[in-house]
């Protein structure tokens, strides 16, 4: 019997395959598609303190083996989330991890306090890194800001905390270290890479928001390197994200040092990939002679 369970700080998961925020709606949409009980966890779309209409369309554009998105955190706000989505989410037979984004430190703290009082959540992920929100601060470009938000949230919210970081920095390690030092149980990386698409004939940006975040198979090598660097340099466990679509991709992230992974864009184009990967995972581990996921995490041989 191969042990698929993993621990990330105070968070225990039955397997390391989760679905990423913003790519799985509020889970209900996927009820006829995915057997939630098989997943390691579900992370619903980011919620903000107040309702947000989101960006003007077009909001997504396909690029070679990837896509740009600028959804702009379209959501109905935290009160609506708690009253409308959470009652369903907390019935799911898997770990549910809420994901919040604030425009200010105080937003994060207020929302974390509110969410922390709700039963039925396994953890809280802080989206410190949404690249598509005008006016909002990209907290995770600054180690001090990141550390402060994590520390203040930690003080008001009893849930295990995951800090989701942006790759759009010169070096992600200092930010990751700051989040770890401030008490994050785990780190999620990466969010999308900022990019853009242009219609040169009309001399216009294609996305309504002008720029957007790149995701999908195209970013996998970039994400893999960042996960590997952070896993080697920071003590807290890492949830690897970026272009993961197959068992091979998952195995690569585990070997690079991720303790779990999140599947994002693949949910759009291969909506049953997550459960197929969970089914294939024991075979992948067995082929390395491992009896558990833990045995392969961070086992990359260099030099």
């Amino acid at each position: 019997m191969i042990d698929l369970s993993v621990s990330l700080g105070r968070l225990r998961l039955k397997n390391p395959i989760l679905v990423a925020s913003g790519t799985f709606g509020y889970a209900k949409e996927m009820a006829g598609v995915v057997d939630f009980a098989r997943l390691g966890g579900v992370i619903p779309k980011t919620v903000t303190r107040h309702p947000r209409a989101g960006n003007a369309p077009p909001r997504t554009f396909e690029t070679p083996s990837g896509m740009l998105n600028a959804i702009g955190l379209d959501n109905d706000g935290i009160d609506h989330f708690i009253h409308y989505h959470l009652p369903y989410l907390r019935t799911l037979p898997t770990a549910v991890i809420a994901n919040i984004a604030g425009e200010s430190e105080d937003d994060f703290v207020a929302m974390a306090e509110q969410i922390g009082r709700e039963p039925g959540l396994a953890a809280l992920e802080l989206n410190l890194s949404c690249p598509n929100v005008a006016g909002g601060i990209d907290f995770a470009i600054d180690p001090d800001l990141t550390g402060r938000v994590v520390q203040r949230v930690r003080a008001v919210c009893p849930l295990p905390l995951i800090a989701k970081l942006t790759p759009n920095v010169t070096d992600v390690v200092p930010v990751a270290q700051a989040a770890a030092k401030a008490g994050a149980d785990a780190l999620s990386l990466v969010n999308t890479f900022v990019g853009m698409a242009i219609d040169w004939k009309r001399r216009k940006p294609i996305l309504g928001n002008v720029t957007g975040g790149l995701s999908g198979p195209a970013i996998k090598p970039l994400a893999l390197r960042l996960v590997w660097r952070v896993a080697r340099n920071v003590k807290v466990p890492v949830l690897g994200i970026g272009g993961i679509a197959t068992l091979d991709d998952v195995m690569e992230f585990l070997v690079a040092g991720a303790s779990a992974v999140q599947l994002g864009t693949v949910n759009f184009y291969d909506p049953t990939a997550s459960v197929r990967i969970v089914d294939a995972l024991p075979g992948g581990l067995a082929s390395l002679g491992a009896d558990s996921v833990r045995e392969v995490i961070g086992t990359l041989r260099t030099g």
Binding site: V33, T60, S65
Partner: protein, 276 residues
């Protein structure tokens, strides 16, 4: 949501109907049994990440086997870019990946004298199945055939004659077809909504699908006539499932407006609900 069909299925045939326009037949009984007119499916080419995402296509019609059971789904597509350019090269017995049925489909209508369907360009694709359904020629999604319209008139606008596809299918299904073209090479010269304006008697209900300027003109006409009208929208989609929030359109709400997902709240909307 009822259970979704997600499968890699064999292609029965893939034939040219008109300039840049093809009909692909997908052997997928599960999907054929469940899908209703106005709903759509996502189509993706397996084994490649470029193109990466599926693309939405309306149900053109279901195909019945020798015993009258739904066995396949026809999609009619216009070659406009990456995926459709590759799709036209797919041969019979090769496979494509599909998921569906998706979206709300056309609403059930009360018994009516005449329904007017208004198509612009490739926006004609959802109407063949709808004609059959309205005239009681066939039931869809497990429902028995039941006639609700005495007459269905299809107003179909194209840029030029050789882009008109499926006209024989629409006539065979029982609709009277009124063509319009920008250059006058077939039917009325001018916009399809201008052709509709000349039609007597006025349809008791209108349904439109096509480019946004055409839909806006239709919406105005329906409003002026005081005739109920539904529009099927074609916003770009990444998932078709309601999880990416890319396909939104502005919909009226108590508080003013909000973006709503066309793939789950649509693609068919009452004109009154849209905030245009």
């Amino acid at each position: 949501m009822t259970s979704l069909v997600h499968a890699t299925v064999p292609v029965g045939e893939n034939v040219r109907l008109a300039r840049d326009t093809y009909r692909i037949r997908l052997d997928c009984p599960d999907l054929a049994r469940a899908i209703r007119p106005g709903q759509f499916l996502m189509v993706r080419l397996p084994g490649s990440t470029d193109p990466l995402l599926g693309r939405p296509f309306a149900l053109y019609d279901t195909i019945l086997d020798g015993t009258g059971q739904p066995a396949g789904v026809d999609v009619v597509y216009l070659v406009v870019g990456k995926l459709t350019g590759l799709l036209k090269e797919v041969r019979a017995s090769e496979s494509v990946t599909v998921w569906g049925p998706l979206g709300n489909g056309f609403p059930d209508l009360p018994p009516l004298e005449q329904v007017g369907l208004v198509a612009g360009g490739i926006g004609q694709t959802p109407f063949l199945a709808h004609i059959r359904e309205l005239l009681g020629g066939r039931g869809y999604g497990g429902r028995p055939a039941q006639q609700t319209a005495q007459r269905v008139s299809l107003f179909y606008g194209v840029r030029t004659a050789d882009l008109a596809a499926g006209v024989d299918d629409f006539r065979a299904a029982g609709a009277d077809v009124h063509l319009a073209s920008d250059d006058g090479s077939v039917g009325f010269r001018g916009f399809v909504t201008q052709r509709l304006q000349q039609h007597v008697p006025r349809p008791a209900h209108l349904v439109g699908c096509g480019p946004e300027p055409m839909l806006k003109a239709l919406a105005e006409l329906a409003c002026e006539w005081g005739v109920p009208c539904h529009l099927s929208l074609e916003t770009p989609m990444a998932c078709g499932l309601g999880v990416c929030f890319s396909c939104v359109t502005k919909v009226r709400t108590a508080a003013g407006w909000d973006y709503r997902r066309v793939c789950v709240d649509g693609p068919v909307f009452d004109v009154q609900a849209l905030c245009w």
